[in-house]
């Protein structure tokens, strides 16, 4: 094969960038290649022009493009080869990566180790099936963000936003600042999946109403959206309550109803997937069920904070480099289970042997007040901590002492 690299990184967003740089640190001599389908590196951060990135990682508040550029600036000195305009089509367990590349055509690359960093994409309207017509003027919030922030088109003048995810909240402020009128953010759940700071800075600051337990039950308009019907839902069944319908006149409906990891490649290769995260099942090194294939960032599980993406990806990049250099982690494998209020915990597996600290990330399945988080190993309690409030919108982290893990562990809430 003409193209051989020790480490191939698929995706040039913050995950791929951090993985590449940490692989370089771990293996100064390795040949490293990054493949990105876009013209530019930086992934979703290119269009996230708001600030709030990097306070934990850099101790400084940056905008998305600034955060990405800090990593991009280091690539050249780190001698990492980058192919942009390159779409990866699939990869095999032999670690042959098939891609189409604007500059090279169809190319096969033999990798020593692969890091998956493809990010995620937004759930679309089809996945939700709102009744009504199918006029123009319905966008996912991220698509509207790209149109507005990169292409320079204001997607509409009178806006209703369905879902209170971060992208929707950010777009509510963006469009207000661009002169549009944002009439309502409707959230079907009794809580927001967005970060608190975005609710305060984007909605409260601009007097935009946020209605919990509400959803869009009909879309009106033939060619262009002319309005939507919003109804209250029963919190128990999430079914619309008859008689609560309200009409909102608008020309645009933005959907901010969540992200799905982009794992067609991963599934196609036969990597074991987690039904809850929609990402691969990994161990603490972020190695998947396929030896030498690692995953990190939003393709592994949806992150709210890019700082966590960078941290996680540094782990994956370093481990991929060690693997490519012939150092394989081996040992007894323990399972990490989530139950009783914990939706998922990651990594899902732990390879025994290390004595150091181990960070475990998890999300709860509903909003809880004063819960206590516990980690059990058999009948031993490895970790127990009281929290004031926990919501599904915020990813939680805890640090375990790996030396204490002697079997499968369970992460749970004492509610």
């Amino acid at each position: 094969m003409e193209y051989r690299y020790d480490i191939v990184i698929i995706g040039g967003g913050p995950a791929g960038l951090a993985a590449a740089l940490s692989a370089r640190e771990t293996a100064p001599e390795a040949k490293i290649l990054m493949l990105e389908r876009d013209k530019k590196l930086g992934g979703i951060l290119q269009q996230c022009i708001h600030n709030g990135f990097g306070l934990h990682y850099f101790g400084q508040e940056l905008t998305g493009p600034e955060y990405a550029q800090r990593f991009i600036d280091q690539l050249e000195a780190a001698k990492i080869e980058v192919w942009t305009d390159t779409m990866v089509l699939d990869f095999s367990s032999e670690k042959v990566v098939d891609c189409v590349c604007a500059a090279r055509g169809y190319v096969q690359v033999q990798a020593g180790a692969i890091v998956l960093a493809m990010g995620c994409r937004e759930r679309t309207r089809g996945a939700l099936s709102i009744p009504g017509t199918r006029p123009a003027g319905i966008y996912t919030a991220g698509c509207a963000q790209r149109l507005n922030n990169i292409e320079g088109y204001l997607p509409g003048k009178k806006v209703v936003i369905l879902g209170s995810g971060d992208i929707g909240l950010i777009m509510a402020r963006r469009m207000t600042w661009e002169g549009a009128q944002v009439k309502l953010v409707a959230e079907i759940m009794p809580y927001s999946s967005g970060l608190n700071r975005n609710i305060v800075q984007c909605l409260v600051d601009n007097d935009i109403p946020l209605k919990f337990n509400h959803t869009v039950t009909a879309v009106h308009g033939q060619e262009r959206v002319t309005g939507v019907t919003v109804s209250e839902v029963d919190p128990a069944t999430r079914r619309p309550i008859a008689g609560t319908e309200e009409f909102y006149e608008c020309d645009t409906l933005l959907l901010s109803v969540g992200l799905i990891p982009e794992n067609e490649l991963t599934r196609g290769a036969g990597v074991e997937m987690d039904r809850i995260t929609n990402g691969a099942v990994v161990d603490q090194f972020r190695q998947t069920s396929m030896e030498g294939v690692f995953a990190c960032g939003n393709v592994l599980h949806v992150h709210d904070l890019v700082d966590n993406v960078s941290n996680e990806s540094a782990i994956a990049g370093a481990a991929a480099a060690r693997y490519a250099m012939g150092q394989k982690a081996a040992g007894q494998v323990y399972a990490v289970k989530a139950e009783n209020g914990v939706r998922y915990a990651l990594p899902q597996r732990i390879v025994a042997g290390d004595a150091g600290k181990l960070d475990v990330y998890f999300r709860v399945d509903a909003a809880y007040r004063n819960p206590s988080v516990q980690v059990l190993c058999g009948d031993k309690v490895l970790y127990s901590r009281k929290k004031q409030i926990m919501t599904p919108g915020e990813m939680e982290k805890m640090t375990l002492d790996q030396g204490l893990i002697t079997g499968d562990i369970t992460v749970r809430l004492d509610k």
Partner: protein, 117 residues
């Protein structure tokens, strides 16, 4: 006053109370939170992040921000100033796009590189 700290994405819930004529802050995890809560109860500050037009660049727009936070009350006026701004590529991160925007004493700077096309 009850408020949510927006300095970092942790979003701590903070209470500001007047105790014996002095402001008392609780619920914050770190010093930045205390500073923010005091500021918020006196003169709320916000960083403006928006876009300006670019002539001769890779794309039509370049993202910008106020280098520091400006009074929330000044956001609207600053946005008005930004509307009329057009810069020539190339633009580098940190380039000053508007000096002392809307008389706030804070510069508006570029937050991305834009090569000449």
């Amino acid at each position: 006053m009850e408020l949510t700290c927006i300095v970092c994405p942790m979003g701590c819930r903070i209470t500001v109370e007047k105790v014996d004529g002095r402001l008392h802050v609780s619920g914050n995890t770190c010093k930045r939170g205390e500073k923010y809560a005091l500021q918020e109860s006196v003169c709320p500050m916000r960083t403006l992040t928006t876009l300006v037009r670019v002539r001769g660049g890779e794309g039509p727009l370049c993202p910008v921000k106020t280098r520091e936070a400006i009074p929330k009350a000044m956001l609207e006026e600053a946005l008005g100033v930004v509307k009329g701004v057009c810069v020539d590529a190339p633009v580098k991160i940190g380039d000053v796009v508007v000096k002392n925007i809307a008389g706030t004493g804070v510069d508006l700077v570029a937050t991305a590189n834009r090569e000449r096309r």
